[in-house]
Amino acid sequence: MTSSKIELPGEVKTDADAAALMASLQLMPSPVPNADIKYTKIFINNEWQDSVSGKTFPVYNPASGEQICEVQEAEKADVDKAVQAARLAFTLGSVWRRMDASERGRLLAKLADLVERDSAYLATIESMDSGKPFLPTLFVDLQGTIKTLRYYAGYADKIHGTSIPMDGDYLTFTRHEPIGVCGQIIPWNFPLMMTAWKLGPALACGNTVVLKPAEQTPLTCLYIGSLVKEAGFPPGVVNILPGFGPTAGAAIASHMGIDKVAFTGSTEVGKLIQEAAGKSNLKRVTLELGGKNPNIIFADADLDLAVEQAHQGVFFNAGQCCTAGSRIFVEEPIYEEFVRRSVERAKRRTVGSPFDPTTEQGPQISQEQQSRVLEFIQSGISEGARLECGGKALGLKGFFIEPTVFSNVKDDMRIAKEEIFGPVQQIMKFKTIDEVIERANNTEYGLVAAVFTRDITKAMTISTAMQAGTVWINCFNALSTQCPFGGYKMSGNGRELGDCGLKEYSEVKTITIKISVKNS
């Protein structure tokens, strides 16, 4: 029961003995055969509703390009309905507002238990809808989802205000109150985990939610809606609206009845969200956006570890991570060796069906993304980077791309500046620590950074110097629900996870009482 140690992507063994692997697969959970899609409607007030317009949209399996089902398409009118429900659930004196904080925690813990109960089913649907391999989905995404919900369940009754030794004859204290109706817009790369990252802190703090999942991957998020209801959350507390950014997403961002909007996605859309908040009701905005993250490898690093972690750091989830370590700076003396080993590792990466247990990499999420990544690869070639391996679409059905490695990458090339969001590794060379600090920070992004070295002084220097919200030392993608996550610069505003995540869902109220005689 407590052996839930997650095998993080970075920890995948390099030289897995094939026989041992197959033996262990015998014990591994399997996908649910012929998994039914049970929920394809809009979830408002704990009820399943058709879209006001009557419109639907298709959802595809990116491994085959085939349609899975049609889903009700929420637009502005549906957002209005959801906001009304969320507003009502947030009324002073409502069941949700009157509930003990510990009871809110109980409901979240129950939701975590239900996700755990249905994790094989959820992982199956997640794999089908997003193309990510089933086993990592079960061990990383589902565990991350369950742990996040449990973590915030525990916080519900620990969100403390303070009493304050104010000057004068007063008694002053603060209350941390929920903000109100929170709009939440999430991406397609970790559909379930992003749902948990958003719902966990918002509900622990006592808010109500109008959540739009990505149009590419609405299915698991909708299933969570059914679990929200089963866990016993009051109607209107969580509302889930599948739909598109320019319609439903924009309606949320500019809605006058929404008090806060949280968005995870591209920097480009992040700007639109902030503008919409400014133009409408100055709703609070938190953003978790793109990255072009430096991963710095010093010559004294454990080379096996560095190569594997750098590989996983960029290729995990088919490269579709905002945390992807897509600029790898390698110290000159080990550059050639590092490139050689990285290429060797990339060539061994198994690409294939998400439901094949030996698959490390599934398809990209859509044809659009596939084309975009291939276009980046072309720009790398034409701007003079050396293509070491990969570079092409794989001749399968679906949206697969070969694991691709570029060496001799220069800082001003497009592949070194822009977020590719695909399985493409850029390897650059550096000579001094001062030089690499400057080059690593020379980007509009600031999400994460990593450094590999055995020298504690170098590690501390880099970790202080990086303009990034997260720095990993001798590890990569070591995310955990206890640790805050978010971006410097154009990688975002605010933090998710940890206790920092709660601040983004609270208003602080200062209450001051005149008293007759103050004493310490």
């Binding site: 029961m1 813990a109 220097t461 202080t464 206790d499 008293i515």
Partner: protein, 515 residues
Amino acid sequence: MLRHVLSRTLPRISGISNCQYSAAAIPVPSAQPEVHYNKVTVHQDAVSKRSFPTINPATGEVICQVAEADKADVNKAVKAAREAFRFGSPWRRMDASDRGLLLTRLADAIERDTAYLAELETLDNGKPYAVSYSVDVPMVVKCLRYCAGWADKWEGKTIPIDGDFFCYTRHEPIGVCGQIILWNFPLLMQAWKLGPALATGNTVVMKVAEQTPLTALYVASLIKEVGFPPGVVNILPGMGPSAGSAIASHMDVDKVAFTGSTEVGHLIQQASGSSNLKKVTLELGGKSPNIIMSDANMAEAVEQSHFALFFNQGQCCCAGSRTYVQDTIYDEFMERSVERAKSRVVGDPFSMKTEQGPQVDEEQFKKILGYISSGKREGAKLMCGGGVAADRGYFIQPTIFGDVQDGMTIAREEIFGPVMQILKFKTLEEVVERANDTKYGLAAAVFTKDIDKAHYISSGRRAGTVWINCYNVFGAQAPFGGYKYSGNGRELGEYGLDNYTEVKTVTIKVPQKNS
């Protein structure tokens, strides 16, 4: 009647307003629950092979024999706890979130077995089953769940230290914690002790009260069931002078937490001083003032003051045992309080009508009767009760004394029984001074509609807890503990974690600090 009793009593006990138990849902108890666990920890005999009887206080009959742990058993348990705490052990290597999950699963198991635990608690302690079932066990579950949530949120800090250094703190467990608990809330005190100690990663050697060992031993079986590693929790039934004293003076116990009398609290602190300076937290006695201003809502004040004193047969360290009533309403308050006390139903704890069961044992029973005699002797006016309430078992009538003066023994010492003292006062300043004229400082309450009076008293009273227009409101979230002779340290809330934590400051030289 039951619904009436509960609806009157229960909402005042914190947090249960939302609890899933209602009077209607309480299952009919078995008055003779089977005892499954009567040995040291789960299954070991005492080294000495000795045992002692545990008594049903409602009848005075022996329930069963329980293995009696003494120094040799404490040594065994400390060794097991030390091994479980070894650097690199499964318990030390475990993710904090998994420690939390184990505590959650323990809460789930206790919730599953609520009815049985409540029966056993009532059998061994004498408290009414309706209360065990609706108050004690649900509060245990909530306490453990609360602490479970802290396990992975107990964060150190990074600190902007002067100079070219990087500095951070780690909150580390203290190590092997000795815990000695009382018989008045056997299950709840166990949860108050285990929750924070385990959330923060310590290992535990717990001695449970010899009067009430049975539920704690059953919980030990649940601890094993949910998967805590061996040695993390060790539970020893035994006596204070042997097992308790062995814990307090053990050279390999890093911390001791004690709940009980102030008298024994002194001994514990001394034992620490004469052995290894183990950390000490104490939750001791009280003589808590409950102040009723003339503008208070009379009906509320009477009912709450009754509850403040008589709850749990008066066996609460925070009992409101000095009820100060403003002179202009004194007579009316007295009359209504007497009426309420007379209507208090004393009897078989397994009957759903019962509000008050027996005192826990003969010693307590006699001690309380002695206090009642001293009250009469010293000139207090006996308004009702004052005698034994049944011909067997340790039942005492709900008793009220009027015209109590501050210097009387019953106004100065902790009675720990169903004996209410009502005192008269005139002014706010006077009552605060009189209320503070005690060596104790556990709790206090004030009943008033006036916001200024409420704040004057809440800041003027030297006590760890102040209730305004309520009494006995406990929540796992809110710290509890004493000023002065009522104790050291706090239990529950975030503050409770401090008492199970060593703070380690780690400082790393760096070539060049930057903000």
